[in-house]
Symmetry: C2
Subunit: 422 residues, 2 copies
């Protein structure tokens, strides 16, 4: 094998069930990649990450080149050994975070010069340097350096930006050192413009890559526009290579994008949300800091098999977040990553079984139902009279479901997510 | 069984090998109890705590009565179920932390009134209330409310304080509800004064408890004085009940106290130090933030079997602390707790084997040796010429050991430790 392998095992409509093969093992697709920014998935051991079913992690070139440096990671055995993760790793090119995190950026045809957000030191990133860094990190899937076209962009701006990315894609390919089980992905740009997306796909296909990412989305355009771009871009892409939608997203984004032929995803949402007390569950989302959870003996999600849901009540998780205890972020991150992998597993099985539409629509419908509130708090706070619980009606075990007020679906905008240090 | 059981299995000099039996299982002694202040051992899952070999945790009445309240813990099934720990739990009485953490304390014969350090709310703690709270928490080993006599104290101050504690011990015993597998420990006070310690032991023995704690130590008196107090107090204590030295300590404190007949310990040192980057290892201590660890491929302690030492280099751990990643505190806490349990295991085996002095002296000698420095950094920072490595001499594989400059032994003063929120 040269590069990385991809087997398309089944399709159902445009949804694809596949398998990516790398030097560090296989990845069943559609796949979600947890983000391990600084050589750690925040608040998780790698054993815990693996236990959720994740088969590949994403590392961030921008963060790692600044600290501890790619040279240091290489000296300590490469990213797999450094962070104790022997499964596949994909690294981004650093371009996106140079734009969102660093100071004093100067773009040129050659590359981008910037100051580190950590210590103000000056750095230069070119397609060649990005590829070299990712090689030193020992990344299984290297990403071309590109410019993530901002949103909104005029057609002229989008075209100029996309064409620069295509020239950089060529230079990235030339700089890439081929090794069995290691591959390079190109990134389709072109903003929301069909002709430009088509030009970008054609340019990349002409160069030839192990896989093709769709970039420049989840940057503020909204889910509907994102799906529209996928609708006119996906049919142009080669069938025999994996497609990766960068920086996406919420569970409903994943479902909609798999429906449109996407194979791979990454997003900080499950990890970042977990640290702030937001849990993704089968019935939408829950903010565990909400006072209504204080007395709740139920798990976050009764159908979830993760360690958090098997062993801890909402009341305990609420307490941990109120007390600012590290175990709160640890347990919610674990749950969220497990839930994301459950969503992917469910979709993979449904595609193989040929009932993707039925299964995915049912998942979407449940997400929109919202959480069911707990029964009344048996111990009221002194000074506050207990709220009257609704007495159970004859023939009914539970009060009718109330939609959780804190289950407003989160916005999954990649730019917003990436502004902090992950 | 009423109360808790204690079997003295072996002795070696004054060192004791025993077994405590509770409604939630047995504890092999000498035992170290990790501190789970707010119903969580900070930065650890309970599965991880159990994996270190810990058989009992300590919970803090002061913290839990304020948040989430004892009533809430009881409503959510008691502390074992609340925090997902089905092994024994000991709770302190709250008295020590009322003194070290709360505001505006007023002591009287009846009890102590104080303001919460969290929200300024007013609370009243009496021996009866403390026992009731610990009952609601479902603690296997309840501690009497006492006054931890400050250090230094005049003989008159110490006597007055000790006698108050003895009257409170009587009231605590009267308030305690007996249940099979649940017990109550009295606390010996009397500062550094032999006569007062003797009076306190006699008073408590007269009342009769399931076990006897030695309080008022590790409050600034220093190791030598602490050992001296143990030397004249331990011979007075009944042999057939466990002895618990509260709030102690460093590994060398544990060894010296086991040598003097102590069976149980608790301390925040392994957890708190772990969060700040200090690791306890067989050759002393290591500050992982020190730059000398950045390139070090070795584990913290090559002889340690914990997950941190089996899978991660010092270079990686250094990176995590530099990047302020949560996984750093998680992994160092895990190692420290594992190491503490290793120290206890080693002592238990040595007492059973009748070679405690030999084994414990060897451990102490190694702790004093200090860490061996790594070889020179193979990649020097730009602008800094690499330090010349010492060429290996003929017949020697390694350079002579250098004592680690950051392995200054930490001070284990309980007052200092308890000033922050643990």
């Amino acid at each position: 094998m040269t590069g990385i392998g991809f087997d398309l095992l089944a399709t159902d409509g445009r949804a694809r069930r596949g398998r990516v093969t790398t030097a560090h093992g296989t990845i069943e697709t559609p796949a979600f990649m947890p983000v391990g920014t600084a050589a750690t998935v925040k608040a998780m051991t790698t054993d815990a990450v693996a236990s959720t079913g994740a088969e590949i992690l994403l590392g961030n070139t921008y963060h790692l080149m600044l600290r501890p440096t790619a040279e240091r990671v290489a000296q300590l055995g490469g990213l797999h050994r450094f962070m104790n993760w022997d499964k596949p790793i994909l690294t981004d090119s650093g371009g996106f975070q140079v734009m969102s995190l660093s100071d004093l950026r100067t773009m040129s045809e050659e590359g981008v010069t910037f100051k580190s957000h950590l210590d103000g030191s000056r750095h230069h990133l070119t397609p060649e340097r990005s590829i070299q860094i990712q090689h030193m990190l020992d990344s299984n899937i290297t990403m071309c350096l590109d410019e993530c076209t901002p949103f909104p962009a005029t057609e002229a701006q989008a075209e100029s930006s996309m064409r620069l990315s295509m020239r950089w894609a060529r230079r990235s390919k030339d700089a890439f050192v081929e090794r069995p089980g290691y591959g390079l992905f190109g990134i389709v740009q072109g903003s929301v413009y069909p002709e430009q997306r088509a030009e970008s796909v054609a340019a990349l296909t002409d160069i030839g890559f192990d896989g093709y990412a769709i970039g420049g989305l989840a940057v503020g355009e909204g889910q509907e526009t994102m799906f529209r771009v996928l609708d006119f871009t996906e049919p142009l892409m080669v069938k025999d290579r994996p497609r990766y939608l960068m920086g996406v997203g919420r569970p409903s984004d994943l479902i909609g994008a798999v429906r449109r032929g996407v194979d791979m995803f990454d997003c900080v949402m499950p990890t970042r949300s977990g640290r702030t007390g937001q849990a993704f569950v089968r019935r939408g989302t829950i903010n565990i800091r909400n006072a209504r959870h204080a007395h709740d003996e139920r798990p976050l999600d009764a159908e979830c098999g993760c360690p958090t849901c098997r062993s801890y009540s909402r009341g305990y998780l609420h307490h941990l977040f109120k007390a600012d205890e590290m175990l709160g972020p640890m347990l919610l991150t674990w749950h969220n990553l497990h839930y994301y992998q459950d969503v992917m597993r469910t979709m993979r099985e449904a595609i193989a079984d040929g009932n993707f539409e039925e299964v995915s629509s049912a998942m979407e419908a449940r997400m929109n139902e919202g959480d069911i509130e707990a029964t009344v708090d048996p111990i009221a706070k002194p000074g506050k009279p207990p709220k009257q619980g609704r007495p159970p009606k004859a023939g009914k075990d539970t009060a009718p479901p109330k939609v959780d007020k804190d289950s407003e679906p989160p916005k999954a905008e990649r730019v917003e997510e990436e502004k902090t240090d992950e």
